[in-house]
């Protein structure tokens, strides 16, 4: 399927759900062969979409085909399994089947990245521009163990890599669009320099949007934003078996308005850097080895400097930092009989700090607290996936993962804060989140595919769930306080999916049940008064005995459209 793209340069957007059939597992084969594919083709012309419903109209899933400077939210919006929580005009938080935050794992090129905003206003996806993007991998069922412990699925964004050519060559693209409703000026561009052994890819985007103007021409205040993004990938062939990659990505969003809040995002900045070696047939029996080390630093600052005095009760600043250092090694083994095995070991260190400074309008002393008190987490994990191709009609995917994490806090002021809640602050908590799953795929007749998966997993509590300190949630009006000794959330789930693939009529229907044990939830405490002015009260994170989520979905992409029906039933078990 080829679609015309501005500038005549193609890009690849792959939506893969990991849930493909044994015989035509496009996603996995595309992943492994991609590099070599690129060696031959200079640049892929057009857009290739790979998902569990291959004939799903590409136009629908590919906003870039219509608009070369579409933003990340517009890309994610088209993925049926993803729901977006919108807090402003920008940086929507992705959810998979209504699970979010620590319940799903979000990564960029396999690197773990954690936002620096206590209010989840900087999801990792907001640091990527579609121009950086090669594909989005969403795993909403059970085979996400390679990406980290979770109870709801995983989202991985793969960035574009430089391509090699037989002789020196270069390719470039420049795109620009104007959104009239916000006088939004969008520019994006890229350059690929290539040779046989060395290649370099540089791309980036600049956006500047003024306030949004509604239908009648009415201006919606505080909906403006600015963004700059720059990504760089350097590739070198080392011999004929190894490829070295150095990646760097810089993203800066500034002056991001939040119409519904009394504050705006002054700065959201991230630096992502990584170096990796990929080896092919280096060790006997191992098809592909990937070793990667990475670092990312995120800074997020909310303030109200753009707001006039009469609009706010009290001025405040909320800066946040999140630094992650990590690495992983993955091994894709050669097919042994019917088994396709992939193994992975990963580690990351994450540091998070968030402050809240409030200024007395009457000139009294400033008020200060640490909403994330230098929370430090180390996580070491091992994972494995085995895809068994039983016969032409049946395949089974088995996967497992075990993590070892330690979490504690480092700041003395933060430790003092915790003494008010019965802790010394010196406690270090160890968790062992795990994941095991099986998925069975079966071809029924000519046009039907059936998939059934069963999984059990647990996840480590998030920074906010453990150490959040009076984090205001605009949605329910409560301040949230973490519980350091909270237990891991466990999940037992199963899903059944039936898909029809015919020339004209495609549809997919699924039913899933997720039973969450020790479900982490904010429990209101009547005795505590809300810190936030106008807040309703305080909720403490705690483990509820259980909760359950039942979802049905029907994707019927007819006539260039997709209808999604998600019925979610959530019940807390107290």
């Amino acid at each position: 399927m080829n679609l015309k793209i501005s500038g005549g340069v193609g890009l690849v957007l792959t939506l893969s759900f990991f849930s493909l059939f044994g015989q035509n597992s496009d996603s996995t084969s595309a992943d492994t062969n991609f590099l070599f594919l690129q060696l031959e083709t200079i640049e892929l012309e057009g857009v290739k979409i790979i998902s569990d419903s291959e004939r799903t109209n590409a136009q629908i899933f590919n906003p870039i085909a219509n608009n070369s400077t579409a933003n990340m939210d517009e890309v994610l919006e088209r993925i049926p399994q993803i729901q977006l929580v919108k807090r402003g005009s920008f940086a929507y938080e992705p959810q998979i089947n209504s699970l979010s935050g620590g319940q799903i794992s979000v990564s960029i090129d396999g690197m773990r990245i954690f936002g620096a905003c206590t209010d989840k206003m900087d999801p990792s996806t907001s640091y990527i521009e579609p121009i950086n993007l090669e594909k989005v991998e969403v795993s909403c069922h059970s085979n996400s163990s390679l990406d980290g412990s979770n109870v709801g699925g995983s989202l991985n964004l793969s960035t574009r890599k430089a391509t090699f050519t037989n002789k020196f060559d270069w390719k470039g693209e420049l795109n620009s669009t104007l959104n009239t409703n916000s006088l939004g000026r969008n520019f994006s561009g890229g350059l690929n320099l290539s040779s046989k052994k060395l290649a370099l890819k540089v791309n980036g985007a600049i956006r500047k949007h003024d306030n949004y103007r509604a239908g009648g021409g009415e201006e919606v205040k505080y909906t403006q934003y600015e963004k700059q993004n720059f990504a760089f990938n350097f590739r070198a062939r080392l011999g004929n078996k190894w490829i070295f990659d150095a990646d760097y990505l810089y993203d800066l969003a500034s002056d991001v308005g939040y119409a519904a809040l009394p504050m705006d995002v002054a700065v959201a900045k991230t630096n992502l850097g990584s170096a990796s070696f990929t080896g092919y047939d280096v060790i006997k029996g191992v098809e592909k080895i990937k070793i990667k080390a990475y670092v990312n630093q995120v800074y997020h600052q909310m303030d109200d400097s753009k707001r006039p005095d009469e609009e706010i009760d009290m001025r405040m600043d909320m800066p946040g930092w999140s630094n992650t250092y990590g690495g992983f090694a993955s091994f894709k083994l050669k097919t042994i009989k019917k088994h396709n095995i992939e193994l992975k070991a990963d580690y990351y260190y994450n540091f998070r700090r968030a402050e809240m400074i409030m200024y007395d309008p009457d000139g009294g002393p400033d008020m200060f607290m640490l909403t994330w008190p230098d929370v430090v987490r180390n996580a070491l994990g091992i994972a494995g996936v085995d895809k068994v191709e039983i016969n032409t009609k049946n395949s089974v995917i088995l996967s497992g993962r075990l993590d070892w994490t330690t979490t504690g806090i480092e700041d003395d002021f933060g430790k003092r804060q915790l003494t008010g809640f019965g802790y010394t602050g010196d406690e270090v908590y160890v968790h062992f989140p795990y994941s095991i799953s099986t998925t069975w795929n079966r071809l029924v007749g000519k046009h039907y595919q059936l998939r059934w998966s069963v999984a059990s997993s647990s996840r480590v509590p998030t920074t906010s769930e453990m150490y959040g300190y009076f984090l205001f949630n605009k949605e329910d009006g409560y301040d949230y306080i973490g519980k350091p000794d909270i237990k891991t959330e466990k999940s037992i789930r199963s899903s059944l999916e039936l898909k029809r693939k015919a020339n004209k009529v495609d549809w997919t229907t699924s039913v899933g049940y997720n039973r969450l044990l020790d479900y982490i939830y904010g429990v209101p405490d009547k005795g505590s008064s809300a810190m936030t002015i106008g807040g309703k009260g305080v909720k403490y994170y705690d483990n509820l005995p259980w909760a359950q989520i039942l979802n049905f979905s029907l994707h019927a992409p007819l006539l260039h459209r997709v209808w999604v029906l998600n019925i979610i039933h959530l019940k807390s078990g107290i």
Partner: protein, 315 residues
């Protein structure tokens, strides 16, 4: 942008280097020690005691007793001094900070007025006096009851100054019995009391008492409170007459800390209960820095005696 990466790395490297240095140094030291098993001073009471020495070589030196060594006023500020005529003593008054309206911790040092040497044992009794144009009065005082000073050689006396010096003249009348020469004397030491910015005391008329006593409550702060859970100590006295200000021990107390600027309180506070001598102890949770107001409700036999008392403290 890349600078922040580098800075972090450099910092961790520095740390590493420091640790490595320390490690090497400690290895070096141990080798030195073990290689030098020879003669030296083996008397543990000597100033130049050498733990590595095996055999005493007569090199031991002993420090001459320092008259100031018997007491220690580090961290304290000299507030005022005077002479206890008749007891042959100089009385020095120390405190952690300038005297203020509220509960003050005084530290009294007694020295021989002739030699300036530290005087060992004695009896110190402090009586504060406020001289106002029309009348005189005292204030609550808790005297050190022992004949022996504390381990730093100081007598600890606590005073609740109920008003600042701007209202009149504060004077500490210190009576001292010098046990060394068995003589009694007293010193009149004028002191200055300033009004604190933190509101650390409050008073009310106890209409349920027989004489409509004026009751004084004060926030006792041996140390500066911090963010988090703190001990809270509140002392209660009443004015029996101009000179007698005894403790009130029969109240039950409820406290509620709030931030007036934000209009919120804090969880997990514990109401103070009476311990001894009018001192009530509980817990208070200050969840952040800033101005805190601590409302205090006092009851007796289940009936509220006073409701509108409060302290204020800026963290």
């Amino acid at each position: 942008m890349i600078d922040t990466f580098l800075k972090q790395n450099i910092m961790t490297k520095k740390k590493l280097i420091n640790w490595t240095l320390l490690l090497f140094m400690s290895i070096g030291l141990t080798t030195l020690n073990s290689s030098c098993k020879k003669e030296g001073c083996t008397d543990t009471t000597a100033a130049n005691f050498d733990s590595g020495a095996k055999k005493d070589n007569g090199s031991c030196t002993y420090a001459t007793p320092d008259p100031t060594a018997a007491y220690d006023v580090t961290g304290l500020k000299e507030i005022a001094k005077g002479y206890a005529i008749g007891a042959g003593a100089e009385i020095k008054v120390y405190a952690k900070e300038d005297l203020f309206t509220g509960y003050n911790f005084l530290y009294i040092l007694t020295l021989d007025s002739a030699t300036g040497n530290f005087l060992g044992e004695g009896q110190v009794t402090v009586s504060p006096l406020m001289e106002m144009p029309m009348h005189k009065h005292s204030c609550p005082i808790e005297n050190w009851e022992s004949d022996k000073p504390n381990s730093n050689g100081l007598y600890e006396n606590q005073v609740l100054f109920v008003m600042p010096s701007s209202a009149g003249n504060w004077e500490l009348n210190v009576e001292y019995h010098n046990h060394t020469i068995n003589k009694m004397g007293s010193a009149k030491i004028p002191v200055t009391v300033t009004q604190t910015t933190n509101r650390l005391m409050d008073s009310f008329i106890d209409s349920s008492s027989a004489n409509n006593d004026r009751v004084f409550i004060t926030y006792v702060l041996p140390e500066k409170p911090q963010v988090g859970l703190n001990d809270i100590e509140i002392a209660v006295y009443y004015k029996k007459d101009m000179m007698m200000w005894p403790a009130r021990e029969d109240f039950t107390m409820e406290i509620e800390p709030t931030m007036p600027t934000m209009g919120h309180g804090s969880p997990n506070n514990v109401n103070p209960v009476h311990m001894a001598k009018g001192h009530y102890k509980g817990k208070v949770n200050y969840t952040m820095t800033g101005l805190w107001k601590i409302d205090v409700v006092l009851s007796r036999n289940g009936k509220v005696v006073s409701r509108n008392n409060y302290f204020e403290y800026t963290l």
